[in-house]
Symmetry: none
Subunit: 143 residues, 2 copies
DNA sequence: GGGAAAGTGGGTGAAAGTGGGGAATACACC
DNA sequence: GGTGTATTCCCCACTTTCACCCACTTTCCC
């Protein structure tokens, strides 16, 4: 269960410390890939494999499915944490998500996302504006 | 069953004592999330997981649904109680709910809410003002 | 009134987050 | 083939934060 919002810094070498709460659930490795809306996604290896299988089984005929595969697989890399619990984010992924020094790591229950601080601010601000829509969706779930 | 209204204080370290009546029902852990109207919500872990699964099953394709998940899960936190029955409220949640020293914890049967004392006052006053409207809604429900 | 439990405050050692040095490897270039 | 640069993966070290423990005061209940 990945929960919470963490503001960490990307050092000069491009390393990012994974929140300690996440490390246990990740075990040895983590798969980082491109996500939607110019963020990166991180998965435990086991979950990634399930997801990868599902995507691979989508019909080749659908354009959306093809693009989904391009997004997910071409950017994916299986990374190990160093003794300090950090991973080296590949440069192409850093560029994709526009990561600079300040980075936000956000838990999303089954996986987590990595954002540049500025973009993350925008996401949160955009949500405030749509607060009522969220309330409605939650009500539909019986909360 | 979470019932009652408790006024507790948030200490300098951001810790909040959970009312002892609630502790048994929470067991070891509690999940605190952003709630509506700038309060925080607290759930027993088991109940939270039911909600989390429902939300996680929303379609990934919709931008709104993605953003809703980001708001909910990034604003959630799985916390353990210390031996004194307290939890450390993460700073981003403290800010969201505007918590200062005086805090109100209100039972809502299935979960509980955490308010800054000032805001809680406003809520109660609002109830006075809108009492009749609320009564009408209850009547509509056959209560 | 006495005892237990709840709420509050604070100290301390461990762990998290951060920065950087240096060896090993890969790569391009001369 | 040799050299120089860049990258990556190890360490180690520092600062800050947090989790844990202990102690005090107040409240509640018998």
């Amino acid at each position: 269960m990945f929960l919470g919002e963490y503001e960490h810094s990307l050092d000069e070498k491009g390393r990012l410390a994974i929140p300690s709460r996440f490390r246990e659930e990740l075990g040895e490795g983590v798969v980082i890939t491109r996500g939607f809306d110019r963020c990166l996604m991180g998965f435990p290896v086991a979950r990634w494999q399930v997801l990868a299988d599902q995507i691979s089984n989508l019909p080749l005929g659908q354009g959306d499915a093809r693009n989904m595969r391009r997004l997910l697989f071409s950017g994916a890399s299986d990374l190990a944490l160093d003794r300090q619990g950090r991973v080296l984010i590949p440069q192409n992924l850093r560029e994709y998500a526009g990561l600079s020094e300040q980075v936000v790591i956000a838990g999303l229950n089954t996986h987590f996302e990595i954002w540049s601080s500025e973009r993350w601010e925008d996401v949160l601000n955009g949500l405030d504006a749509n607060g009522s829509a969220i309330a409605e969706q939650l009500t539909a779930l019986g909360i």
